[in-house]
């Protein structure tokens, strides 16, 4: 093809569609390239009738296509209509496999061998990646589908499912109840799948509910009639044709990173969450190649559409004020001496060194997520043991850190340009000190997720935070009173070490070569007593182990294992001893601290082997990363289910715990309920950042939830459900007098009903943070069987402490 488009847009999601719409509106020659036969594949494959939300509500929409919160169908229809009306030039079923060239003449190679030339390219391919196809003749015929929305839709069909991963197995099992299903596996095992799925599929095969063909590939697919066809498998025994009515291929998706990198775009780090750095005009390091939407780190529909509109404006040489400007202005207005948004942004970037390496776009995003605070002098910003995890940068004035709970007059000043709060951000634990505001203090408070995004994307931010974390940890735990400069040598020699759950940090008898400061995760300390390993202590993040090595150089006295995935900072002995030589007073002080710790350990109650078994069991249940967990003493539980009823009654009719499910050991039962993890898995991938941690540690979901279900999938403990909560609990008096629904009794019915409805949101335990008196499950237990504990109390629990 010889013609050169001014603009080629890859991907027709909200970002790409908005860009194409603006280009069409401006009469720019353009082409929108989409691999699927429809627009916006990710939203297209949402379930039918799904309510799509329009967060953040405060951000105005600036696009040539309409968008408002509503049903999936309404939104998709509106987009199709706009695309037709604006005469957007769309190439469907075109998959770009390579982008070469430079600004003015890019060449986009398609999978069918064609090439498209364009002066500018906008990449808006999102993060989902393309589903892997069968890679044979007929892969796009009407017989083959690459997803399954509702297995109940199909009955009495002969269905072939290709794949051996979790998705393929789950589809096969669900369909096999009312269809004849054959599973095609390229290998001879299901080892790629989760254990539960693997066991289930092997059982189904053994019982004949499911047929399986091992060591088989797909050679071709041919339609013979409407919804009838033949799939030909290539097996070691030769070609094997199978008649079928439907083929479902679940072969995973190719993550887009490799493709993006092949276009010359650089990612700032190896972190899988990293996104390419782009300028404030959304331009990548390749001039003329722009990145917008989820791929650039903006997962929300409205943001992505605004960027689509703006990027075209930038390409045609205009510089519209970004859509977020009014939002930023309203944030900045309260600042003393406020002039304009760009001036304030420049002031922030030059005034706070840790933010200097951010691109202007990253900084804008950072500030949009952040809140500006102007506390009065003496105001408490957060208190020791608060469970908040936001990060503070000091824009003006100063703050005072009070690290010593016993002596509040001991204050460490921090001046403008510095930051604090990184300890809780990294460790996931409570605040280690109280922080007070000084005169004229202006702070930028940034939520955990935005900070984590930044740490993943900007290596310099990560380095500075890590070093500061380490310096401050040493200052607060080991060497109070020493300055960062004096500690530099020790800090430089320290290394971050990572341990998997169950991995040994060091064994009893090993040479004591250093101290481990636990940065993330937790460890257990065990000793061999009478030939049996016994757990003496559980040590959470923020604390340290192996400190005796620094003073005595003796062999390790205990074995320390990671309870969950754990990161420690290992301080080497030699540089630390050098430091002690320079500061003899510190040596005495440290000696005293460690001696008193050793004495406390010795007088701590010793556990017996049964208790060790319990602690080990609890760790196996993943409670090493818990901060507060519901346990049930089976010796007291009468199975009345009051805990579940209380939960349902106080939380819109949906119980967030399942008492009977879950494992037990030595009469201690771990029901299926939220543990409020230190680093909550559910928070990992929440597009509207709706999952938060309250000051007391409760991990909860705000109303901003868009019902995407990511948290439900990410939770390894299965404690999040999708449901619709009802506002009004049934009345106790009307039940007593007239019968009808008993309070707390509707849990299951409500859930079933909710499952059929759209507009579901994720629900999980919020530890009754809004109820006085604490968690309802515990308060409603008539016998005292239900208890909530933190891991630090496990040892105590196992001793049956009163």
């Amino acid at each position: 093809m010889s013609s050169v488009y001014a603009l080629a847009i890859v991907g027709s999601g909200p970002a790409g569609l908005a860009a194409a719409a603006r280009a069409a509106e401006l009469g720019l020659s353009h082409v929108l390239i989409e691999a699927e036969p429809h627009l916006s594949h990710t939203i297209h494959r949402y379930q039918k009738g799904k309510h799509v939300m329009a967060e953040p509500a405060a951000l105005p929409l600036r696009a040539s296509v309409p968008f408002a919160a509503g049903q999936r169908e309404v939104i998709l229809t509106a987009w199709d209509r706009s695309a037709a009306k604006l005469k957007i030039h769309i190439r469907h079923r075109a998959e770009v496999i390579a982008i070469t060239g430079a600004q003015g003449r890019f060449t986009l190679k398609l999978s069918n061998g064609e090439a498209i030339n364009a002066e500018h390219v906008v990449l808006a391919i999102g993060l989902q990646g393309n589903p892997r196809k069968l890679g044979c003749e007929g892969e796009d015929s009407g017989l083959v589908q690459y997803q399954l929305d509702d297995p109940a839709e199909y009955r009495n069909e002969t269905i072939v499912i290709v794949g051996a991963g979790d998705a393929a197995i789950e589809n096969a099992l669900a369909l096999s109840t009312q269809n004849r299903v054959t599973l095609v596996n390229r290998r001879d095992d299901f080892d790629r799948a989760r254990e539960g799925n693997r066991d289930a599929v092997l059982k189904a095969i053994e019982q004949g509910r499911l047929r399986v063909v091992y060591n088989a590939g797909v050679a071709s697919v041919a339609m013979t009639a409407a919804q009838r066809g033949v799939i030909t498998l290539s097996t070691p025994q030769g070609a094997a044709p199978i008649d079928c009515q439907r083929i479902i291929a679940r072969l995973g998706a190719t993550p887009p990173r490799a493709f993006v990198e092949s276009c010359g775009i650089v990612f700032p780090s190896k972190d899988p969450n990293a996104v390419p750095a782009v300028s404030d005009r959304y331009e990548s390091n390749v001039p003329g190649l722009y990145v917008i939407g989820a791929l650039a780190g903006f997962p929300l529909i409205k943001q992505a559409m605004n960027q689509g509109w703006e990027v075209v404006e930038f390409i045609v040489g205009r510089s519209p004020e970004p859509a977020d400007a009014p939002l930023l202005a309203s944030k900045f207005e309260r600042l003393p001496g406020y002039r304009s948004v760009p001036a304030t942004i420049a002031q922030i970037q030059s005034g706070i060194p840790v933010l200097a390496p951010l691109t202007p776009l990253q900084l804008r995003e950072f500030l949009l997520d952040s809140a500006l605070r102007t506390p009065r002098a003496g105001e408490v910003i957060f208190s020791r043991n608060d469970y908040s995890d936001s990060f503070f940068s000091i824009l003006a004035g100063d703050v005072f850190i009070a690290p010593n709970p016993d002596d509040v007059s001991e204050l460490i000043p921090l001046a403008a340009g510095q930051f604090f709060g990184e300890m809780s951000l990294i460790s996931g634990r409570r605040r280690s000190a109280t922080v007070l505001a000084g005169e004229g203090c202006v702070l930028i408070e940034t939520p955990r997720r935005s900070m984590n995004k930044l740490i993943a994307s900007v290596a310099a931010v990560k380095r500075v935070l890590d070093e500061t974390f380490l310096t401050r940890a040493i200052q607060s735990k080991l060497a109070p009173g020493l300055s960062a400069d004096e500690l530099q040598e020790v800090v430089a020699s320290a290394s971050v070490q990572r341990f998997k759950a169950g991995e040994v940090l060091f064994k009893a008898g090993d040479v004591g070569d250093g101290l481990h400061l636990i940065r993330k995760g937790s460890v257990t300390v065990a000793q061999q007593i009478a030939g049996k390993e016994m757990v003496l202590a559980y040590v959470p993040a923020g604390q340290y182990v192996g400190e005796m090595a620094l003073l005595t150089g003796a062999a390790r006295s205990a074995t320390v294992k990671a309870a969950i995935a754990t990161e420690t900072i290992k301080l080497e002995v030699a540089p630390f001893l050098g430091l002690l030589d320079k500061h003899p007073a510190l040596r005495d002080q440290l000696g005293n601290t460690l001696k008193s710790r050793a004495a406390a350990n010795a007088s701590a109650p010793q556990s017996d082997s049964q208790q060790h078994g319990i602690v080990q069991f609890l760790m196996q249940q993943g409670l090493g990363e818990a901060t507060d967990v519901l346990l049930i003493d089976e010796g007291l539980c009468v199975g009345c289910d009051h805990c579940e009823k209380a939960c349902a009654d106080t939380h819109g009719g949906i119980s967030r715990l399942d008492r009977d499910a879950g494992a037990s050991f030595a009469q201690l039962h771990v029901p299926t309920s939220c543990r409020h993890c230190e680093h909550p898995h559910c928070m990992k991938d929440c597009p509207p950042d709706a999952i938060r941690r309250a000051p007391n540690g409760e991990v909860f979901i705000t109303d901003a939830c868009i019902g995407c279900g990511n948290c439900e999938k990410n939770c390894p403990y299965g404690v999040i459900q999708m449901g619709t909560v009802s506002e009004k609990p049934p009345s106790l008096m009307s039940w007593l007098l007239f019968g009808g629904t008993e309070p707390g009794a509707r849990a299951e019915k409500a859930l079933v009903k909710a499952k059929q409805q759209s507009g579901k949101q994720a629900v999980k335990c919020d530890m009754c943070k809004d109820l006085s008196g604490g968690p309802a499950c515990v308060r409603a237990c008539p016998t005292g069987a239900a208890i909530r504990v933190s891991p630090e109390q496990f040892i105590q629990i196992t001793q049956g402490a009163d």
């Binding site: 089976e634 008196g773 402490a801």
Partner: protein, 322 residues
């Protein structure tokens, strides 16, 4: 090595005490004091016409007893007010138990030991029945949960039922090649398996089912024996090996022999059926234990309502004749 943990919420109780020992037997102590005070008053008080409900102390004791009954019955309301922060339910249960025990003494003193065939003694009798059923409740609450935990050994009833269904399938599959009569028997046996049922069956199990499960096993055993007996005697030497007779026979008869295969299948089937029957027993035992945990409430609660009705009649009649 861990440092002392800071307390997160001041309101949190020390973890892990049952309702009987709630807050260092707070309610037991309170109930005991109440009893001592009532006995002292009763001993000290010498009304002209002997102790009765009609003296001023009688009315006072009656008033206290009435207040206790209302408070005790209110547990049924409080336990369904899940949002209430008026104490914990554990505390309420603890108070319910100890004050309920105290009630017997206080009501007895209130009666002045005047019993007869009248509405007053009916109310008293109902109260005693309610308390006795409650004491039974305390006993089962104290004993059965541990028994259930021991029975379950970390598994759940759902997992057992799942396993039971699998064993049934396995039995059917094994029975299929063994001829229609065995197959029919297995099907019949599966149909006869009963889990739970009405209250009586939950508590005591089905005698009929037990018999039929045993009969089925016996029939299979007999068949096995017949097969073994029909084998050539010179190849059968029971003392030759510690292996199961069946496996020994199977080896002796050679793989081509149909009866050896039959024996093997039959032995497998017996194993499966045996495992399944044990599982059925365990599930029904679990159900029975759970039923026993709840069944006393079927007396305790209706009797409470009857008591309240009788109490109202008692109070109305007393004031009517006053």
């Amino acid at each position: 090595m861990s440092q002392p943990t800071a307390h997160r919420k001041p309101s949190r109780e020390s973890a892990h005490t049952g309702f009987m020992r709630h807050r260092g037997f707070r309610w037991a102590k309170f109930a005991l004091l109440l009893c001592i005070a009532c006995i002292a008053a009763y001993v000290w008080h010498e009304p002209l016409d002997g102790p009765s409900g009609g003296s001023w102390l009688g009315y006072t004791l009656g008033g206290i007893a009435l207040a206790l009954v209302v408070f005790l019955a209110w547990l049924g309301v409080r336990k369904r007010r899940y949002g209430s922060s008026l104490g914990t339910l554990k505390g309420w249960t603890s108070a319910h138990v100890y004050l309920g025990l105290a009630l017997v003494l206080i009501a007895t003193l209130h009666s002045g030991f005047q019993f007869g065939l009248n509405i007053h003694t009916l109310a008293y009798t109902l109260m005693v029945l309610v308390v006795v059923s409650g004491i039974y409740g305390i006993v089962v609450y104290a004993k059965l949960p541990q028994e259930i935990a021991r029975l379950r050994t970390g598994s759940t009833r759902d997992a057992w039922i799942e396993e039971l269904l699998d064993l049934n399938d396995e039995a059917l599959k094994l029975a299929e090649p063994m001829g229609p009569d065995v197959h029919r028997k297995v099907v019949g046996s599966i149909e006869k398996v009963q889990i739970g049922g009405g209250l009586r069956r939950q508590l005591y199990g089905s005698k009929k089912q037990k018999r039929s499960l045993e009969q089925f096993s016996d029939a299979l055993q007999q068949r096995l024996k017949a097969l073994i007996d029909s084998a050539p005697p010179e190849t059968f030497n029971p003392s030759a090996t510690q292996q199961s007779t069946v496996m020994f026979m199977a080896g002796q008869l050679g793989s081509g022999d149909k009866s050896a295969l039959d024996l093997q299948r039959l032995q497998q089937l017996l194993d499966v059926i045996g495992r399944r029957n044990a599982l059925v027993t365990r599930i029904n035992r679990d159900i029975a234990l759970h039923a026993r945990l709840q069944v006393w409430l079927l007396l305790h609660v209706p009797l409470t309502f009857a008591l309240i009705a009788a109490l109202i009649a008692h109070i109305v009649s007393v004031f009517f004749y006053w």
